[in-house]
C-alpha cells in the first residue's frame, strides 16, 4: 500500500539558517516563481500534498514577543493566496494553506478555501491554527491575550486562555464546515421557465450560535468540488488531539521514535473516543524535519547550526541521513500505526529535491509509493469519500 507523503513548505526551509546555504534562493522568497518551482517539484515527485505555513505576525524564536533577529528569514506572504497562485500551474498535488482561527473571520476562511478548491478542481485543504501570542493579538486590538506559559507548572491564565482558544477554534471549524455544506451540490438550476437561477430550498442558513460568535450563512460560494476540503491540524498534546478528533481529517504528530509513534497513535485514538468522533478515523501523519544527502547530511546540518549560532530546535524529530535511511525509518514507523508523513525540508530546494528524486524512488522500489497519481482530488487520494451536504434531504 502506498504511503501518504506530504511536504511542509515554509520560507527557505525549516532550518533558520537555510537561507544562507548554497542552494537557497533567499532573494526570491517573496516572488510567485519561487513557490511555483517548489510545488511543481513536489508534484513531479507525486507527493500527496504540500502545506504552507502562516501566522499573523513575524517569525520569532521567542514564545511571546519578537526576538529582533535580522539573521533569520522574517516576513511571509499570505498562505491561501500563495496556494491559489500555484493552483493553475499544477494539476494533481494537494494545496493546504494555514489560517488563524483566533483572528481571521470563519466566513472569510470558508469562502477562501472553497474558492481554492474550485480553482484547483478539488485539491484544497486547510490547516486551522490557533494564534495564542499576545503580541499578535495587539495587531488586531480586539482582545488581550495573556503570555503563553509552556512550563511544567503553567500560569492558570495561560492554561485557560489556550483552552478557550481551542474551544473557539473548534467552533470556527464547525462554522467553516457548515458553510461548505450550506449550498447543496445541485442548488444551481438555471430554470428559464420560472426565471430561477437557483433552487433556494437547496441553500441553507447555518445559524451557528456559539460562546464566541454567531454566523448566519449561507456561504456566498457554491459548494466546491470536494464538498469538504481536507482539514488538517498539528497536535502535540491531549487538548490539540481532541481538537483534531473533533475537527480534522488529518492530524500531524511529532513522534521521536517508533515506540513514541505507537504511544501517540494510542493517545489520538483515545481522543477520538473521548470526543465521540463520528465517521472515518483521523489519518495520522508523522512530522519530521529532514536533511538528506547521499553523504554528509549531518555535516551540512552542523554547518547550518554553526551559521545560526546554535543547534536547530524543533518540535519534530530531526532526521539527517540518506534517502534510503529515511525510507527505512518511515516504513518502520508506519508499523506503529501512522498513515503517512509530513516532511519538513531543512533546506529548500535541496531537501525537497532529495525527497522527490531520492526518497520517492527508494520508496517506490520498496513497493511503498505510487507510480502515478490515482485521483485528481485530494480527499480521494487519502481514501476519503466525497461527503454529501449535511443539509441535503435524504430522499
Amino acid at each position: 500500500m502506498t504511503l501518504s507523503l506530504a511536504v511542509a513548505l515554509d520560507g527557505a526551509g525549516w532550518h533558520p539558517a537555510a537561507w544562507r546555504s548554497g542552494s537557497a534562493r533567499p532573494g526570491r522568497l517573496f516572488t510567485p516563481g519561487y513557490w511555483a518551482e517548489l510545488v511543481t517539484e513536489a508534484e513531479r515527485g507525486l507527493l500527496d500534498f504540500v502545506t504552507f505555513e502562516d501566522a499573523l505576525g513575524l517569525q520569532s524564536t521567542h514564545l511571546n514577543e519578537l526576538d529582533g533577529r535580522l539573521d533569520q528569514v522574517r516576513g511571509r506572504l499570505d498562505a491561501v493566496l500563495i496556494a491559489s497562485a500555484v493552483a493553475p500551474l499544477t494539476s494533481r498535488i494537494g494545496l493546504v494553506p494555514t489560517t488563524s482561527t483566533t483572528h481571521t473571520e470563519p466566513f472569510h476562511v470558508a469562502i477562501g478555501i472553497a474558492s481554492l478548491d474550485h480553482i484547483s478542481r478539488g485539491r484544497a485543504g486547510w490547516r486551522p491554527r490557533l494564534s495564542p501570542r499576545p503580541d499578535q493579538a495587539r495587531h488586531f486590538g480586539r482582545r488581550v491575550l495573556p503570555p503563553l506559559d509552556l512550563s511544567d507548572d503553567p500560569d492558570p491564565a495561560s492554561t485557560s486562555s489556550v483552552a478557550d482558544l481551542f474551544g473557539e477554534a473548534a467552533d470556527a471549524v464547525e462554522v467553516v464546515r457548515r458553510l461548505w455544506d450550506s449550498w447543496e451540490d445541485d442548488a444551481e438550476i438555471r430554470d428559464v421557465a420560472t426565471g430561477r437561477f437557483i433552487d433556494r430550498e437547496r441553500l441553507h442558513y447555518i445559524d451557528f450560535r456559539g460562546e464566541w460568535f454567531s454566523v448566519r450563512g449561507p456561504s456566498i460560494t457554491p459548494r466546491s468540488p470536494q464538498g469538504q476540503p481536507l482539514v488538517t491540524s498539528l497536535a502535540h498534546d491531549t487538548l490539540p488531539y481532541e481538537f483534531a478528533a473533533r475537527s480534522s481529517d488529518v492530524v500531524y504528530v511529532t513522534p521521536r521514535d517508533r515506540a513514541d509513534a505507537a504511544a501517540i497513535v494510542g493517545r489520538v485514538r483515545e481522543a477520538e473516543a473521548a470526543v465521540g468522533r463520528p465517521g472515518a478515523p483521523l489519518k495520522i501523519f508523522g512530522d519530521l524535519v529532514v536533511f538528506l544527502d547521499a553523504d554528509g547530511a549531518a555535516g551540512r546540518k552542523a554547518r547550518l547550526d554553526e551559521l545560526d549560532g546554535g543547534e536547530l530546535v524543533s518540535d519534530a524529530h530531526v532526521f539527517t541521513g540518506t534517502p534510503e535511511g529515511l525510507a527505512g525509518l518511515l516504513l518502520d514507523w508506519r508499523e506503529a500505526g501512522l498513515d503517512g508523513f509530513r516532511l519538513r525540508p531543512g533546506e529548500l530546494p535541496h531537501d525537497l529535491t532529495a525527497i522527490t528524486r531520492g526518497l520517492v524512488p527508494e520508496l517506490r522500489a520498496r513497493n511503498a509509493f505510487r507510480a502515478a497519481y490515482e485521483t485528481a482530488d485530494l480527499r480521494g487520494r487519502l481514501g476519503l469519500p466525497r461527503p454529501g451536504s449535511r443539509y441535503a434531504k435524504v430522499s
Partner: protein, 451 residues
C-alpha cells in the same frame, strides 16, 4: 492634448445585468470563466480586471433572491490565481473595510501585489448593515454615519502598515548574514477611533508600494473620500452630461488634498452592444434588455420599490394601484433599493402612465440601462468622445455574458481605439500604476492624506 483612454473589465455580477438564460452563458464559478475574461482583457491591453464582492446573499421577501446569478468566489483568492495566468493585467479586488481588520487586509493585498509583480488594486467598500453583519463575529456593529470614518481610518492604517517596511528592507545577503537590513522594518502604532493596534507588520512592501486604491461611493462623503485617498473612482455616471458633472465635481475636490486632476482616474461602469449596422445593434440591445428583465425579475423590481408582496400581479399588466410601503421593504442586501423608494415609485408611475407601459416594459426601460450601442466604429467614436469631453477618463466594462462577454469588444472596438491613437497598442510598464500613469507610491508621500 488628446487624453489616453483607460479600460477595465468587470466580471459579470450577481444582478440582472448578467444574462444567465442565454445558451452561451457559462459558469460564474468555474476558474476557466475567470481565466477567459481576464486573458481576453489582457489581450485587449486593458488596465485591470475587477471583481466585486457581497458578503451576504441577497434576500427578497425574507428568502434568498433566486432570480439573478447567485454565488461568487473570494476575490483575492481568484485574483492570485489569475496572477499566475496573466502577465500585465491589473487585478482589482473589492474588499470590505467593515467586516475585516487592517493587519490582515494589508498583508493579503501586499501578497497579491508580490504574486502579480505589482498589479494589485483594492476597491475599498463599506457596509454597515446588521444583515451582512450576521455572517461575522461583530455583527452589525457600525452606525451608517461611521462607515466612511472607519473606511478612511482603515485605509490610513493599511498605508501605515505597508510603509512600515522600507522598499529595501529585505537584504537576503548570505555574505553578511543579514536577512533584514537594520532599520528596514519599523514597528507600527496606530491609535485612532476605530483601531488601536501596534506591533510589527509581517509582509514586505509590495512592488507598487501601495496597491492602487479604487473607490465607488457616490455620496458627498464618498466623493470626498475618493478625492483624498483614491487613485480610481468606479463611477455609476455613465451618461454624457451627468458624467461631465460628476467629473467636474470630483476633480475640483482634489486640489484641497494637494493632488492634481490626473492623480485620480474616473471610470464609469458601462455596458456595450455591437452590431454590423446601427439598426442591428439596436435590435440586439433590445433583445438583451428583455433577457435581463424576465417577467419574474420585472415583478421583483416593482415589489422591491413598492416594499410589498405583489405576487398576484401580471408582469404584462399595469403597475399596481397601491401606494408604496416605505417601512422595512422586502429587499435586503440589494443596494439598488436602499434610496428614496417613494420618489422612485412616483417617477416610475409617471413614466408608465406617460408611455402606457406594462410592469415588464417599465422595468426594461428603467432597470436595464445600456451605454454604448452601435457599430464598432460608432462605439469607438463614442467612447473617445466621452473621454475627450471629460465625462470620464475611461470605462469599466460590465459584460452581460460569462465568459465570452468581452470578446467582440476586444476584437472589434479596441483596435479602432488603438488606430485613433487614444489607447495603448501595448503595455509600457509592468505595474498597474504604470498602466494608469500614476506615480509610484513612495514613503515620503505618506503624510499627504492625513487630514
Amino acid at each position: 492634448m488628446t487624453k489616453q483612454i483607460h479600460l477595465a473589465a468587470h466580471f459579470p455580477g450577481v444582478n440582472n445585468t448578467t444574462v444567465w438564460s442565454d445558451p452561451r452563458s457559462g459558469s460564474q464559478i468555474d476558474f476557466d470563466s475567470f481565466r477567459h475574461l481576464a486573458q481576453t482583457a489582457e489581450r485587449g491591453k486593458f488596465d485591470f480586471f475587477f471583481l466585486a464582492e457581497g458578503l451576504r446573499l441577497r434576500e427578497a421577501k425574507g428568502r434568498i433572491h433566486d432570480l439573478d446569478v447567485v454565488g461568487r468566489p473570494e476575490s483575492l483568492t481568484v485574483l492570485s490565481a489569475l496572477a499566475a495566468v496573466t502577465t500585465r493585467l491589473g487585478l482589482a479586488a473589492t474588499v470590505n473595510s467593515t467586516f475585516n481588520e487592517p493587519y490582515e487586509v494589508a498583508r493579503r493585498l501586499a501578497t497579491l501585489d508580490h504574486l502579480s509583480g505589482g498589479r494589485a488594486a483594492w476597491n475599498v467598500v463599506t457596509s454597515f448593515d446588521a444583515f451582512t453583519g450576521e455572517n461575522f463575529r461583530r455583527g452589525g456593529f457600525l452606525d451608517e454615519a461611521d462607515r466612511y470614518t472607519r473606511a478612511k481610518e482603515f485605509l490610513q492604517t493599511a498605508r501605515e502598515l505597508w510603509d512600515s517596511w522600507a522598499p529595501d528592507a529585505v537584504a537576503a545577503d548570505p555574505e553578511s548574514g543579514r536577512f533584514l537590513r537594520p532599520g528596514g522594518v519599523t514597528p507600527f502604532r496606530h491609535e485612532g477611533r476605530h483601531f488601536d493596534i501596534s506591533g510589527v507588520f509581517s509582509t514586505p512592501r509590495g512592488p507598487q508600494g501601495h496597491p492602487v486604491i479604487i473607490q465607488a461611493g457616490d455620496s458627498d462623503e464618498g466623493r470626498e473620500f475618493a478625492a483624498s485617498s483614491a487613485d480610481v473612482i468606479f463611477s455609476r455616471h455613465s451618461r454624457l452630461e451627468e458624467g461631465r458633472a460628476f467629473y467636474r465635481d470630483v476633480k475640483r475636490r482634489l486640489a484641497a488634498y494637494g493632488r492634481r486632476p490626473e492623480d485620480l482616474k474616473i471610470l464609469p461602469a458601462v455596458t456595450y452592444v455591437l452590431g454590423d449596422t446601427e439598426a442591428e445593434a439596436a435590435e440586439r440591445a433590445a433583445e438583451i434588455r428583455r433577457a435581463q428583465v424576465s417577467p419574474q425579475t420585472a415583478l421583483y423590481f416593482v415589489e422591491a420599490v413598492w416594499g410589498r408582496d405583489l405576487s398576484g400581479y401580471d408582469p404584462d399588466g399595469p403597475l399596481p394601484d397601491l401606494e408604496p410601503d416605505l417601512d422595512d421593504g422586502v429587499s435586503k442586501g440589494h443596494a439598488q433599493f436602499r434610496g428614496d423608494r417613494g420618489a422612485v415609485a412616483a417617477k416610475w408611475r409617471a413614466l408608465a402612465e406617460e408611455k402606457n407601459l406594462s410592469i415588464r416594459e417599465l422595468v426594461v426601460e428603467v432597470a436595464a440601462p445600456q451605454t454604448f450601442v452601435g457599430t464598432p466604429r460608432s462605439v469607438a467614436d463614442e467612447i473617445d468622445r466621452f473621454v475627450q469631453t471629460d465625462a470620464a477618463d475611461g470605462f469599466i466594462f460590465v459584460p452581460h455574458l460569462t465568459p465570452g462577454g468581452l470578446d467582440d469588444l476586444v476584437d472589434k472596438v479596441v483596435p479602432l481605439l488603438q488606430e485613433k491613437g487614444v489607447f495603448r497598442a501595448d503595455y509600457t510598464g509592468p505595474t498597474l500604476r504604470d498602466h494608469l500613469g500614476l506615480a509610484p507610491r513612495t514613503l515620503t508621500t505618506r503624510t499627504e492624506e492625513i487630514s
